[in-house]
């Protein structure tokens, strides 16, 4: 069975916008985010779930603004988050007059949404938006303990990123003329591999990196087997949020299969915070992590000419608190898209 999807016609990421909280602003990528929230990360809302929704609204509004588009120019919004019933997306995007598809891929949602938008834009549609978000406070509430509960975190635990990013993709080159494009390279999605849900037997909800790494390895191995490419063909291979544990497990797992990615691998969860000074244990995670790092680091690299060819692998731990309490292990998933630089 062929796993590699070649996008039938080029789908450009016309614009992207990222919204983050204070911890992310204080991290190494701080200056590259488009919008930073208030000092309490409430985004002016009285509950954390509303704050997360507001972040999605801000991200998509800003991305539309960068693309010089209105919501009615889009044919679909694909969005997801970590909250039950994707509440962050469905409430956050309710003000946009655009057909809406809600997604759940845990922390891989940004990649899932971009993958699907590139398929849609290259066939039945022209313009789509992909949005995802996570908020540390709403995730803590839903998956861990009350915010003010006095507990200690395990060294392998990851820190849910407060962040949201929106990406506008289009298969119409003329859209760049409208967006006052100044001739710099633009990101194009050319290939994709859909992840498999892989249960590697990890039951520790404080070690999500280990739960996700086998899925990332599986997706990468399938990609390289079928594409005929080599890791050295890419400027970076960026996983979403494997963190410290997951990243080194991934490099171990692929190395045993004869695929050495360590020279070009980087991980969103590892670069969003400063590991020395920010006390974020194994790194960042959450739907917002890979999304804001992709927008603020990788796509910026493409636009500035530093990156010409990259793989983005959104990694997700499909963790369900009820299933965990019932003793089930955590399946992981990883969706891959290849992004190259193109001059329009």
């Amino acid at each position: 069975m062929e796993n590699l999807i070649r996008i039938p016609k080029p789908v450009y990421i016309l614009s992207s916008a990222s919204v983050v909280g204070q911890h992310e602003k204080n991290g190494p990528l701080g200056e590259y985010f488009d919008i930073v929230g208030d000092k309490d990360d409430t985004f002016g809302c009285d509950t954390w779930e509303k704050s997360e929704s507001e972040m999605q609204r801000l991200a998509l509004s800003r991305a539309l603004n960068y693309a010089c588009m209105k919501d009615t120019d889009l044919e679909a919004i694909l969005a997801g988050d970590l909250l039950n019933q994707c509440a962050g997306s469905s409430y956050g995007l309710v003000s946009f007059e655009t057909p809406f598809l809600g997604l759940f891929g845990a922390c891989s949602t940004a990649a899932e949404a971009l993958l699907l938008s590139s398929l849609l834009c290259s066939s039945h549609m022209t313009r789509c938006a992909a949005v995802s978000s996570s908020h540390n406070a709403s995730a803590e509430r839903q998956f861990r303990y009350p915010l003010e509960y006095g507990g200690q975190r395990a060294p392998t635990a990851q820190w849910t990123v407060t962040g949201s990013a929106a990406f506008i993709s289009t298969s119409c080159k003329d859209d760049f003329a409208q967006a006052a494009h100044n001739g710099e390279p633009v990101p194009v999605i050319t290939e994709a591999v859909i992840g498999k849900s892989i249960d590697a037997g990890i039951t520790d909800a404080n070690n999500m990196g280990a739960a996700m790494a086998p899925a990332a390895a599986d997706t990468l191995l399938r990609y390289f087997r079928e594409s005929g490419m080599q890791p050295s063909d890419f400027d970076i291979i960026m996983t979403g949020d494997l963190g410290f544990e997951g990243s080194s497990i991934l490099c171990d797992l692929t190395a045993t299969e004869g695929l050495d990615i360590s020279a070009v691998h980087c991980d969103g969860g590892l670069i969003i915070y400063n590991r020395e000074t920010q006390d974020k244990h194994a790194g960042g995670s959450g739907c917002g992590c890979s999304a804001v790092v992709l927008a603020a680091q990788a796509l910026r690299g493409i636009r500035t000419g530093q990156i010409a060819n990259m793989l983005f692998i959104g990694t997700g731990a499909l963790m369900n608190p009820t299933a965990i309490q019932q003793g089930a292990s955590i399946p992981g998933i990883a969706h891959l898209i290849r992004i190259t630089a193109d001059i329009v």
């Binding site: 009350p146 003010e148 006095g150 520790d204 280990a210 410290f244 497990i249």
Partner: protein, 148 residues
């Protein structure tokens, strides 16, 4: 990659960074000890005007109040991050579990939000404390019957 679930789990557990147990234990000892020493001081203060049992009760109430207040102003979790079991095991941990759950559920209303979820973490403690006590009570009752 052809690793079965058990060996992968073992591999992941074995390489996972461990909690700094020695450091955590020192912190737990110092914070826990300090809280108990403060409790001892309060008790001796209260015993100047109360019976011993009532003084003990008032000490607990005082610690519960302080812990709840620190939870409300957002300081308790910052201390507990370092203190670990040092703030968890004394009655302060019970108070924090109740207050943080109540505070957390505020957005969902005061009946089914705060009212129901205030017991999320503290409920099991009360349930099993009372149940263990009841079992002990039955045993104690039977033993006293036999002894007579």
């Amino acid at each position: 990659m052809q690793m079965d679930k058990n060996s992968y789990k073992k591999y992941a557990d074995a390489r996972a960074k461990k909690s700094p147990c020695a450091k955590n234990c020192v912190c737990a000892f110092l914070f826990g000890g300090l809280i108990c020493a403060i409790a001892q001081g309060l008790k001796e203060l209260y015993m100047t005007f109360l019976k011993e049992d009532d003084a003990g009760t008032l000490v607990s109430v005082t610690l519960i109040f302080i812990a709840a207040l620190l939870t409300g102003v957002g300081i308790f979790d910052r201390i507990a991050k370092h203190a670990g079991a040092g703030t968890l095991v004394p009655i302060t941990g019970f108070s924090n579990a109740v207050a943080s759950s109540a505070l957390d559920a505020k957005g969902e209303g005061f009946v089914l939000g705060v009212g129901a979820k205030i017991f999320t973490i503290a409920g099991p403690v009360i349930l099993y404390g009372i149940t263990a006590g009841a079992i002990y009570g039955v045993i104690y009752y039977i033993v006293t019957l036999i002894m007579k």
